[in-house]
């Protein structure tokens, strides 16, 4: 049975950047990875970009994955599981989607919770904006996530990182947090160990 990784995060936070790198890393470990992408807008850009880069991408098109397309998501997950049997299915919802309802789709399909891992990418360069106009989305995203990735370390101010830490510490649950620069060639040792534990058979 596949593991499912949901990679959520607001528009432009770095979901695609994270996923491209993770796919490279996982394919080196000979793991079979499938990617489901949903993007708002008349024509998807991430789908084209990742397909050009040579990845297997299943695009959910013509609406939002958290509302009109939730049944398409369920069908796609089922089909992947039956016909392609990936070790890992990555899901990149639109940056405007509500991740909670996507998580609910996973549960509807009876995917065991231990096979689901929710990453939240928290872009520190825009933490002020999130708090100012997107607090409900931020709160519900934090509530369903297991791991928070604070990226753009190379661009963020110290005060923005501190604000992220404080937002995370106020969440209703204990969250694992990593501070990363997604443009770095290699993962820091700690993060690599973490990913290895998640993806290896019997891991997590």
């Amino acid at each position: 049975m596949s593991k499912v990784f949901l990679v959520s995060g607001f528009l432009g936070s770095g979901k695609t950047t994270f996923i491209i790198k993770l796919m490279k890393y996982l394919s080196k470990k000979n793991l079979k990875v499938a990617l489901i992408v949903n993007e708002l807008g008349e024509i998807g850009i991430d789908n084209q970009f990742m397909t050009q880069l040579g990845y297997n991408v299943w695009e959910l098109f013509g609406g939002c994955i958290c509302c009109t397309l939730s049944s398409n998501l369920e069908t796609t997950l089922q089909e992947l599981e039956e016909n392609y049997q990936p070790d890992i299915i990555l899901v990149e919802p639109s940056g405007a989607a509500e991740p909670k309802s996507i998580y609910d789709s996973f549960l509807n399909l009876d995917i065991p919770v231990e096979n689901i891992h929710n990453f939240l990418i928290l872009d520190p360069t825009r933490i002020d904006m999130f708090v100012e106009i997107l607090t409900p989305l931020l709160t519900s995203s934090l509530n369903i996530s297991d791991t928070v990735l604070i990226n753009k370390l190379d661009l963020a101010e110290e005060s923005e990182i501190e604000r992220c830490k404080s937002v995370i510490s106020k969440a209703d649950k204990d969250l694992t947090a990593f501070f990363l620069d997604f443009h770095n060639e290699d993962y820091p040792e700690k993060f690599r160990t973490f990913i290895d534990r998640l993806v290896l058979p019997g891991g997590e």
């Binding site: 708002l40 008349e42 024509i43 850009i45 084209q48 939002c64 958290c66 509302c67 509500e98 825009r126």
Partner: protein, 142 residues
């Protein structure tokens, strides 16, 4: 669901120069173009960039992706390949809070004019009309 505030505006663009230029040069022009676009579009109160993303292609192996997510951080470009061309096709998805299609088009027009003067680059663009696809673009519909 937050797309009602961050509506995507999708535009197809074509840029032409009188001579062939490298993909790197095109990336430079595009960076300049969209930095100007981002500065212009965020003038005013309560306007926030969600993501301005651009995909430009010359052929199968030569293309780039450009991103702007904050007005104070210049565009970043991820370039693949090195084709030369005098004509570049771009696809733009612009998610900016507080900005409608009309304003988007106006700003593109003014930036294009400036670019033609400064860089002799001609720009044509068409708005891809938004099909509702059954999802709600307004918050309170019944």
């Amino acid at each position: 669901m937050y797309q009602s505030e961050f509506n995507p505006v999708t535009i197809e663009m074509q840029m032409t120069l009188s001579e062939e230029a490298s993909l790197n040069h095109w990336a430079e022009i595009s960076r300049y173009y969209f930095n100007a676009y981002a500065q212009e579009i965020t003038k005013g109160e309560k306007i926030y960039i969600g993501h301005i993303k651009v995909f430009a292609t010359v052929n199968e192996s030569s293309y780039f992706k450009l991103s702007i997510f904050k007005p104070t951080i210049p565009a970043e470009v991820d370039i693949q390949g090195d084709a030369w061309t005098s004509k570049l096709s771009l696809l733009v998805n612009s998610f900016v809070y507080g900005i409608d299609e009309e304003t988007t088009m106006k700003v593109l027009e003014s930036v294009s004019e400036k670019m033609e003067k400064e860089f002799m680059v001609k720009t044509k663009f068409t708005l891809k009309p938004v099909h509702m696809h059954g999802h709600h673009h307004h918050e309170h519909d019944h």
